[in-house]
Symmetry: C2
Subunit: 118 residues, 2 copies
């Protein structure tokens, strides 16, 4: 995966790709900093590189943090503006936007839990 894109294969990059491959939702630096052996600067330099190489995607959540993910099938992510939880929405929503290339879709609002509380 890394080598296919002509990038050199380092310990840090392997570690980062593995974490993202096995995650069930997008992850921020903050989420995984304790599982990472690399420095924060290395994390961000590599995520930027992987995004440019189109190995990973990301979005900015409500909590001012960026979340990174690797996913085979394009699906929207739901972000709760109350509790900041992030969910994968597996229901297929087809976006045919002529001339645009779609990298990620985020839907913000209130999750079922938070809506009840109102």
């Amino acid at each position: 995966m890394i080598k296919e894109k002509g990038l050199s294969y380092t310990q840090a990059r392997e570690e980062l790709i593995n974490l993202l491959l096995h995650a069930s939702t997008p992850l921020s630096y903050d989420n995984i900093k304790n599982s990472l052996s690399m420095d924060k600067a290395t994390f961000y330099r590599n995520t930027a590189l992987f995004e440019a190489a189109e190995i990973i995607s990301s979005f900015e959540s409500n909590d001012k943090k960026r979340y990174y993910f690797i996913e085979q099938n394009l699906h929207p992510h739901f972000i709760c503006t109350n509790c900041n939880s992030i969910e994968c929405l597996k229901e297929d929503i087809i976006y045919a936007l002529d001339g645009y290339k779609i990298e990620s879709i985020t839907i913000k609002g209130l999750c079922p839990e938070c809506q009840k509380e109102n």
Copy 2:
């Protein structure tokens, strides 16, 4: 609009609502700071208040800035990850997410301009 929600009607709030009402795309503080007579703290305190009162919505773009908008019909916004431009996507896309309340939808990717350059 402001009074309907039981908020007091101040010069700063009128100014802010007017700017957002007449904007053709979502706006960040940076976009309009030169047109604003209020302080940055007041801008952010009022946007937070308006969001809580459900007068405005917002999303975090790719450039780490938050964009605010008032819109009658719910439609997605497209954010180009290359040039950071923001567009309203008027084509109606119906999201029926049972149990969720949807406040905003953002689609990220490459706009037609930036995709050509590749």
